[in-house]
C-alpha cells in the first residue's frame, strides 16, 4: 500500500470522512470569519470617525 493510499484511507475514515471533515471545515471557516468580523468592523468604524474628525477640523 502506497503512502497516498494510506492517506486516502485515513481521510475517508471508513466512510465517515465526509461527515467529520464537513464539521471541521464548517467550524474552521465559521471561527475565522467570527474572529475577523469585530476586528475589521472596528477598523472601518475608526476610519469613519477619523474622516469625520478631519472634516470637522477642515483638513
Amino acid at each position: 500500500m502506497t503512502l497516498i493510499d494510506e492517506f486516502y484511507n485515513w481521510a475517508m475514515m471508513d466512510g465517515h470522512g465526509v461527515y467529520v471533515w464537513s464539521v471541521y471545515v464548517i467550524s474552521a471557516v465559521t471561527l475565522v470569519v467570527l474572529g475577523a468580523w469585530p476586528i475589521r468592523a472596528e477598523g472601518r468604524l475608526r476610519a469613519r470617525v477619523t474622516n469625520r474628525v478631519d472634516e470637522d477640523s477642515g483638513a
Partner: protein, 248 residues
C-alpha cells in the same frame, strides 16, 4: 473585596474597558487558536477510533465544546441582564449586544455538527426530541435578543427589554442540560460530569478538554472584540473616541 468592587466599578466605564481590553483580545485569539489547532489535530489524527461509532465520534471534538459554550454564553447574557436590571450598568448591556450573535453562531455550529453526527450514527440528521428541540429554542432565544434590540428605538428601553428576555430565557439552560435524563431521547447522556468519573477513555478525553478550553478562550476573545466594537459604536461622538481615532 475592595479591589474587586473597585475593578467592577472601573470596568463599568466604557472608556476604561476599551483601553484595558486591547491586549487581551490578541492574547485570547492566539491562545484559543493554538488550543483548537492542537486539540483538533489530536482528535482527528492521534485519538483512536471509537469501538461503536468508528471515526464519526471525532465530530464530538467540535460538537460538544460549541454546544456547551453556546449554553454558557446564554447563561452569561442572563447574568448580564440581571446586572443591568439591578445596577443599570452600561457594560452589561454592551455584553448582551456583543454576545448574542456569537451565541447564535455557536448554537448553529452545535446544531449543524449534531446533524452531521446524527446521519451516520442515528441514521437521521434530526429528531424532534427534547435535547435537539431545546437547543433549537436556544437559537431562537439568541435571535430574540438580537431582534428585540433592533425593534425598540429607545436604547434604554431596548436594554431593559433585552435584559428581561435574557433572564426569562435562562430557564431553557437546565432544560437542555437535563433533557437527556428527564426525557426519552436518542441523544446520549453526558460523558463528563462534576459528580462522577468521566465515562470516556482518557486518550479521547484530552483532545476534548483541549478543544473545549481552546474554544472558550477564543470565543472570550471574540466577545471582547465585539464589545470593543459596540463601545466604539455607542461612544463614537465622544471626545476620547475621536482622540484615539485621530492618534492612529
Amino acid at each position: 473585596m475592595g479591589l474587586i468592587k473597585d475593578a467592577f466599578h472601573r470596568m463599568g466605564s466604557p472608556r476604561f474597558f476599551y483601553h484595558g481590553s486591547s491586549l487581551w483580545v490578541r492574547g485570547l485569539y492566539v491562545g484559543g487558536g493554538l488550543g483548537l489547532l492542537v486539540g483538533s489535530f489530536w482528535g482527528l489524527v492521534l485519538a483512536p477510533p471509537d469501538k461503536y461509532q468508528g471515526h464519526s465520534f471525532r465530530i464530538m471534538y467540535m460538537h460538544v465544546p460549541s454546544a456547551h459554550l453556546a449554553e454558557m454564553v446564554y447563561f452569561a447574557c442572563a447574568v448580564a441582564g440581571f446586572v443591568y436590571l439591578v445596577w443599570r450598568m452600561k457594560m452589561a448591556d454592551v455584553f448582551i449586544t456583543a454576545a448574542a450573535p456569537v451565541g447564535a453562531i455557536l448554537t448553529m455550529l452545535a446544531l449543524a455538527s449534531g446533524i452531521l453526527w446524527g446521519m451516520p450514527t442515528w441514521g437521521t440528521g434530526w429528531v424532534w426530541d427534547m435535547r435537539t428541540t431545546s437547543v433549537l429554542v436556544l437559537l431562537f432565544l439568541f435571535f430574540g435578543l438580537m431582534a428585540l434590540r433592533q425593534a425598540i428605538p429607545r436604547p434604554d428601553r431596548a436594554a431593559y427589554s433585552v435584559s428581561i428576555l435574557a433572564l426569562v430565557g435562562v430557564i431553557n439552560i437546565p432544560i437542555i442540560k437535563y433533557s437527556v435524563d428527564w426525557f426519552a431521547t436518542l441523544h446520549q447522556p453526558a460523558s463528563i460530569t462534576l459528580a462522577s468519573e468521566p465515562t470516556i477513555e482518557t486518550s479521547m478525553l484530552w483532545p476534548l478538554l483541549l478543544n473545549a478550553i481552546g474554544l472558550y478562550v477564543f470565543i472570550a476573545g471574540v466577545i471582547l472584540a465585539a464589545m470593543r466594537l459596540e463601545v466604539l459604536k455607542r461612544e463614537h461622538a465622544t471626545e476620547w473616541v475621536r482622540a484615539i481615532s485621530k492618534s492612529r
